[in-house]
C-alpha cells in the first residue's frame, strides 16, 4: 500500500505517494530527479547519500521515505538554490581542490553545513570528527578538511558583515 508523504525539499513543497520500503534516497533521485545526492554503499558507511532532515544530517539510504512525512529535507541542490551564486562551502571545495571524482562531494558538503551550523569555528580535529561518516577514495581528505576550514572563515566573515550597519 502506498502512503501519503508531505515534505519540503530545498524549500519546495511536495505531496507524494510512496511504498513504505522505498528509501528517501530512492525518492529524491528517482521521483524528484534530485540526483545530486548519491548512493554509495547503501548501508550507512560511506556518507555519499547524506542529506539534512529537519537540520540533522542523516544517511538517506537508511531513511524510509515514509518517515520524513511532515519534515523538511535539504540536499546539495539546496546549497545554491539560484544555480548562480555558489554556497561558500562549495566555493571553498573548488578553490582548495577538494573535489576529484566528485562522488563523495555532495555528502561531504552537507555534513560540512551540518557541522558549521553547530560549530562556526571548528578546529581541524573537529572537522575530521564531523566527516567521520564519509569515505573519499581520491583526495586523502586533507583538501576537504582545508576547504571546510576556509568555508568556516568566510561564513564567519559574511555573518559579521551582516551585523555591521
Amino acid at each position: 500500500m502506498k502512503h501519503q508523504v508531505q515534505l519540503k525539499v530545498n524549500g519546495d513543497d511536495y505531496v507524494l505517494f510512496v511504498e513504505p520500503w522505498r528509501t528517501l534516497n530512492e525518492v529524491l533521485r528517482e521521483d524528484l530527479n534530485l540526483t545530486g545526492t548519491k548512493l554509495g554503499c547503501g548501508t550507512g558507511d560511506c556518507g555519499a547519500c547524506t542529506v539534512l532532515v529537519d537540520g540533522r544530517s542523516v544517511n538517506s539510504c537508511l531513511t524510509l521515505a515514509v518517515s520524513v512525512n511532515g519534515k523538511s529535507v535539504k540536499t546539495v541542490e539546496g546549497l545554491a538554490p539560484s544555480g548562480e551564486t555558489l554556497h561558500p562551502i562549495q566555493e571553498a571545495f573548488i578553490e582548495t581542490g577538494a573535489i576529484q571524482c566528485g562522488f563523495c562531494t555532495p555528502g561531504m558538503e552537507i555534513s560540512a553545513l551540518h557541522l558549521l551550523s553547530r560549530n562556526p569555528s571548528p578546529g581541524e580535529r573537529e572537522i575530521r570528527e564531523g566527516l567521520s561518516g564519509h569515505l573519499c577514495r581520491c583526495t586523502g581528505y586533507n583538501q576537504i578538511v582545508e576547504a571546510i576550514g576556509t568555508a568556516a572563515k568566510r561564513m564567519r566573515q559574511e555573518r559579521s558583515e551582516e551585523v555591521k550597519p
Binding site: 500500500m1 502512503h3 520500503w21 531513511t63 518517515s67
Partner: protein, 291 residues
C-alpha cells in the same frame, strides 16, 4: 541494494504500537533509527512482514534528569542527543562519552539508545557503561510494564530477554552516589565507523581512600556484554594502587571469552580487555575524586 517489501505503520502512541505489534504477529520488527534493522533487511538477513516505526511516539523521546532520583532516557532518544545532553554530560559523563563514541555523526543523528541496546550486538558501545552504572530497562507490553536490570537483558548475539509483543520504552540510570565515577573505554581497528573490537565500562564508589563498590562490564569479548566479577572482587574494600588496578585488568582479561574474527584476534582482544579495564578503572577513580 533495495529493501524487501513490508507493511508499515507509524503509530503515535505506545498503546497503539503494542496493539499493532500483537495484531501483526511474530514476523513484525520494531523500527527505531533504522541504522541496524534496515541494513540487515537490505542484506536479506531479515524479511519481516511488517515494520512498526516508533519515530512518531513523542513519549519515547524525552531525556529527564532529576536530582536525587536519576536519569531516564527515552528509548527513542537519538545517540547524538544522549551525547550532547547537558544533564548527562554533567552527571553521567561516561554515558555521554559512550554515546558520542558510537559510529559516526549521521548514525548518531538517526540511531537511538534503545535501538543500540535492542540490536544486542556483543560490541554495543552503550551497554558496558550502563551495566556498570546499574541501569534498568523498562519493557512495555499490552498487559503492563516490567523493569529489568540491563545486565540481565542480553541473552546472546542479537538476542534479548524481550518477549514477542514487548517494546523497550526507556532506560533508567540510578543517581550516582557522592565520591563515585565511571568511565568508558574502547578500541577498534579503523577508528570511527568501525565496530568496537573491545569495549569496557567501569563504575566505582569510594569511602575516603577505600573502594566501597565497583562494577566492570566488558563488551565484544563474549556472546553478550559480561561483568568481570572476579576483577571487581579484587578491588572491593581496597585502596586502589596502580598494582591493584593492573591485577584487576589481568583478571578481567582472564574472565573474557573472546573469539577471533575480522575485527581482531582472540589474543588481541584478551590483552586489550586488560588494558582498557585498567584505563577505565583509572579514569573512574579520577572522576570519583573530582565528584
Amino acid at each position: 541494494m533495495r529493501l524487501p517489501k513490508f507493511e508499515y505503520a507509524a503509530p503515535k502512541t505506545l498503546e497503539e504500537a503494542l496493539q499493532l505489534l500483537a495484531e501483526f504477529g511474530p514476523e513484525t520488527r520494531v523500527l527505531a533509527g533504522g541504522t541496524d534493522l534496515l541494513v540487515r533487511m537490505k542484506q536479506g538477513a531479515l524479511k519481516p512482514r511488517a515494520v512498526i516505526s516508533l519515530a512518531d511516539i513523542e513519549a519515547l523521546k524525552p531525556v529527564r534528569f532529576e536530582t536525587g532520583v536519576g536519569l531516564t532516557i527515552g528509548a527513542m532518544a537519538p545517540l547524538a542527543e544522549v551525547a550532547g545532553h547537558s544533564g548527562i554530560r554533567d552527571h553521567y559523563p561516561a554515558v555521554a562519552h559512550a554515546a558520542g563514541e558510537t559510529a559516526n555523526v549521521q548514525i548518531r543523528n538517526m540511531g537511538t539508545l534503545g535501538g543500540n541496546l535492542c540490536n544486542a550486538a556483543p560490541s554495543a558501545d552503550n551497554a558496558p557503561t550502563l551495566i556498570a552504572l546499574g541501569a534498568e530497562v523498562s519493557l512495555a507490553r499490552l498487559e503492563g510494564e516490567r523493569q529489568l536490570l540491563l545486565e540481565q537483558f542480553f541473552k546472546g548475539p542479537g538476542q534479548t530477554a524481550m518477549s514477542p509483543g514487548e517494546i523497550l520504552t526507556s532506560i533508567f540510570v540510578p543517581m550516582s552516589p557522592p565520591h563515585s565515577g565511571a568511565s568508558y573505554q574502547h578500541v577498534s581497528a579503523r577508528g570511527r565507523v568501525d565496530i568496537s573490537a573491545v569495549c569496557v565500562g567501569a563504575a566505582a564508589v569510594f569511602d575516603g581512600g577505600t573502594c566501597r563498590d565497583v562494577r566492570i562490564a566488558l563488551g565484544a569479548v563474549a556472546p553478550t556484554p559480561i561483568r568481570a566479577v572476579k576483577a571487581e572482587g579484587l578491588l572491593r574494600k581496597k585502596a586502589w594502587t596502580p598494582e591493584l588496578i593492573e591485577a584487576a585488568g589481568s583478571m578481567a582479561a582472564q574472565e573474557s571469552k573472546p573469539i577471533t574474527d575480522v575485527r581482531a584476534t582472540a589474543e588481541y582482544r584478551r590483552q586489550m580487555a586488560a588494558v582498557l579495564t585498567r584505563r577505565a578503572l583509572t579514569e573512574a577513580q579520577v572522576r570519583a575524586r573530582q565528584s
